[in-house]
Structures are given as C-alpha cells and as structure tokens.
C-alpha cells in the first residue's frame, strides 16, 4: 500500500471538503473493498477520508410510509437482521445476509457497495429492481440514472451517499449463484413486483458493463408472475462476461435458472 494522509472528519461538510481539495482523495466506509484494492495498489489515494466518525449520523434503518430508509454507513450484518426490513422487504435483508462472510458483513456498508458499483456486487440489482433512491449530501438520484457502467456511478467529485430509500414492493426475490472462492455473484437475479404492479428483473454479476434489466423476463412476468411463465424465456449471451470462472453462455443459462428461483422465492 502506498502512503496516504489520514483524515477522520466529524462532519459531512468537512469530509466533502477534503475530497474537493484533493483530486486523488477517497472516502472510506467499511474499507472491505477499498483496503484490499489499496493493498494491491489498484487504488492509491493521496488522502483517505475515514467516515467512521459519521457512523452514528449515517446509519440506521427506519420505515417512512411506503419506503424503508437505510443510512449509508449501515453494515450488511445490521441490514440482514433488521426487524423493520425483514418485515417490509425480506428479499433485501436476505440479500445482505449473503454478502461475503460474517466478518465482511460486520464492517462493509450499503453506501460503500453502491458507491463502488462492482459489476458482481449484490445491492445494485436490488436498487435497480425496486427503484431505490440514492440520497447524497447534495441531491437525490433515482437508481435508473445512477449506475453508469463498470465501477461508474452518477456520483460527482466529493459527493457522499448519506442514505438509500427503498420503496416497499408487493413481492420480491433474489437468487445468487456464488463464485465459491470470492463469494461475489457469478450471476444474481432480483425480481420485484412493485407496489404499482410494475415488474422488474435485474441481473448482476453477468453483464460486461454491470447491472442490467432483463426485459424479456419482465414482459413474461408482467403477463403472469410465476416461474412457469419463464419456462420458454432465455437470456442471450451477448454482452455477458466471459472470464476464468464462467463463459457468457454459461452465465446466460444461469440468468434463467436464477430468475426462476427468484420468482419462486418471491411467490413462496
């Protein structure tokens, strides 16, 4: 790891100011992605802005009418076991429960994962399917306009995610085929029937440019929200990843399998 200046700001404004003043500065939340990347010298921030002192301000899970608002610094382990979330959006709590392993879940945060937008991360699939709103220190960004590609998001320089607002769906399910070594998604599929009846099917882990919607699956499920409705629907390998773990054909196959299982979970 290369040397950096360490900052531990006590306010959002102070944290953002360090990033605005230093082009190569970075925020750190749980550090579960950033520190491994720094050790490999894939990330070399000049200044590290540890958000740890903002944890009280930026964490917590509360229901606000027809949505659940989750603070950006809330950890995966807290999300997985939240009674509020288990009652409102069990599929999202269940997703948090299978991010990494217990030690990763006791440090890693929802905001960190969404800021990073790893193409194999779990939350992007949920955000795009449920229509989450990414709340920052400056504005609110709809999930539809937030994910811009591999590790790319709509966040600007020094913009901090403060919370994520999740509309409560009628029903939802997530199924993930885990890479057995890394525990990230080789393919993960989230299905949701939103409160207004709109159906979304999103795929993570498979797309060459990150999370995407599987519109053929959406059409089939809009007509009939059952796994039987997906019997004849197949994903195309075009635009899917090929790597040492799986080729695009295999990933396309897994999209179908995970989608059917996710619908089964949502309708169980």
């Amino acid at each position: 790891m290369y040397a950096f200046n360490y900052h531990r700001p006590a306010s959002l404004a102070e944290a953002s100011a360090v990033l605005v003043a230093n082009a190569d500065a970075k925020f750190m939340a749980g550090g579960q992605t950033l520190l491994p990347a720094m050790k490999l010298r894939l990330a070399n921030p000049s200044d590290l802005v540890d958000l740890v002192a903002l944890r009280a301000e930026l964490s917590g899970i509360r229901r606000e009418g027809d949505r659940v608002v989750i603070g950006a610094m809330t950890r995966h382990g807290e999300i997985a076991t939240s009674d509020v979330l288990l009652a409102a959006i069990p599929a999202l709590a269940g997703m948090a429960a299978i991010v990494g392993d217990p030690a990763v879940r006791s440090r890693g945060t929802m905001g960190g994962s969404l800021a990073n937008n790893d193409p194999a991360a779990d939350y992007p699939a949920a955000a795009l399917a449920l229509g989450a709103t990414i709340v920052t220190d400056r504005r609110e960004i709809a999930a539809d306009h937030y994910f811009l590609g591999l590790f790319e998001t709509a966040l600007e320089e020094g913009e901090i995610i403060t919370a994520i607002a999740w509309p409560i769906p009628k029903r939802a399910g997530y199924e993930k085929f885990r890479n057995p070594a890394s525990r990230y998604a080789m393919v993960g599929v989230f299905v949701a029937e939103r409160a207004d009846g709109a159906v979304r099917v999103t795929v993570t882990g498979a797309g060459a440019s990150g999370v995407f919607r599987a519109t053929d699956f959406e059409t089939a499920l809009t007509a009939d929200f059952s796994s039987a409705a997906l019997a004849g629907v197949a994903a195309s390998p075009e635009g899917l990843n090929t790597d040492i773990h799986a080729d695009a054909e295999y990933r396309a196959h897994l999209v179908g399998v995970m989608a059917r299982r996710a619908v089964a979970a949502a309708t169980a």
Partner: protein, 166 residues
C-alpha cells in the same frame, strides 16, 4: 505520525503509527500479540479475525487508526489464567485443529457466532457461518464439532471454575 489508542484485551494501549498500519500488524508488530495470524492478506481466509467492539472483523482489512477508541479482543484475551475459554477447550477436546494456523480466527469467529445466534447451533448454520474461515488441514469436520460443543459449553458459566470461584 498520528497516534492511535484503543483497549486491547482489557489494557489501554497508545502508539504512534504510520497511517497504513493494518490492525493485524499493529497487534502483531507493535503489541507483539502474535496469536492473530495472517493467512492471505487479501481478506479471504479469516486467520486474522479479532473482535472489535464485540464483533468479529478481519484485522488485515481494517486500519489500526479506524479502530481508535475501540475495544479489541484477540485470541490472547480469551483464557483466564491457565483456564482456557470454553471454545478453546472445545477445539482441544474435539481435535479441531492440526497445524493450528487457522485456529485463532476460527475461535474468534465461533465466539462471535454464539453471540449472534445462540448456544444451540446446527451443523448447517456452523458451516455457513465459517464461510470466511479457511482451513488447509482438517477438512472442517472436527472444527464444526468443536464449535457446536464450545457453543453449548459457553452457556454454563458455573462449569468454568475461575468464574464459579468469584
């Protein structure tokens, strides 16, 4: 250099550190608590697991500075004098180790598991929860048995002589 202070195994420690110092290196090199191991240094193996404010974390994936003000417990902080912690004793009894390299992390993870999921743990739960702890020797069977037995033993403080005597 910035200063970090925290409580480690009940004792307050304070040191000047290079900001890059990982918690595991702080524990091993600065404090000479070498029971916490580095297996991979890439956040995969769990040999470095310690408790920070009561939660199991990978000490290779946390800066020492981020733990400023926290209470950290390492494998050295579990035994009471010559009496092993019930989870340590269970690993001994059930032969839950061979080379022992993964063992400190396994035990710290197991104790955190008991804190979160209680004393009656089925095999499936234990295997799921040990997902982030890799053992190159044992094939896990005896580790799983040890964790189940240790979890049960942890609920009976009267059986721990040091505590009964107090």
């Amino acid at each position: 250099m910035p200063t970090v202070s925290m409580t480690v195994n009940g004792k307050t420690v304070r040191r000047d550190v290079d900001p890059r110092t990982l918690l595991v290196n702080f524990l091993r090199n600065d404090l000479r608590l070498t029971g916490t191991h580095v297996g991979c240094d890439t956040s995969q193996c769990g040999a470095c697991v310690v408790h920070a404010d009561g939660r199991a974390i990978k000490s290779c994936t946390s800066l020492a500075l981020s733990c400023d003000g926290m209470a950290v417990t390492t494998i050295e902080g579990l035994a009471t004098g010559a009496d092993l912690h019930p989870m340590q004793e269970a690993f001994r009894q059930h032969h839950g180790l061979q080379c022992g390299y993964c063992t400190p992390g396994m035990i710290m993870t197991a104790i955190d598991l008991v804190a979160r999921k209680g004393h009656h743990l089925d095999e499936h739960t234990i295997r799921e929860e040990l997902e982030g702890n890799i053992c190159r020797c044992t094939g896990y069977h005896n580790i799983v048995k040890a964790v189940a037995a240790g979890a049960e033993a942890m609920k009976a403080p009267a059986e721990v002589p040091a505590m009964a005597a107090e």
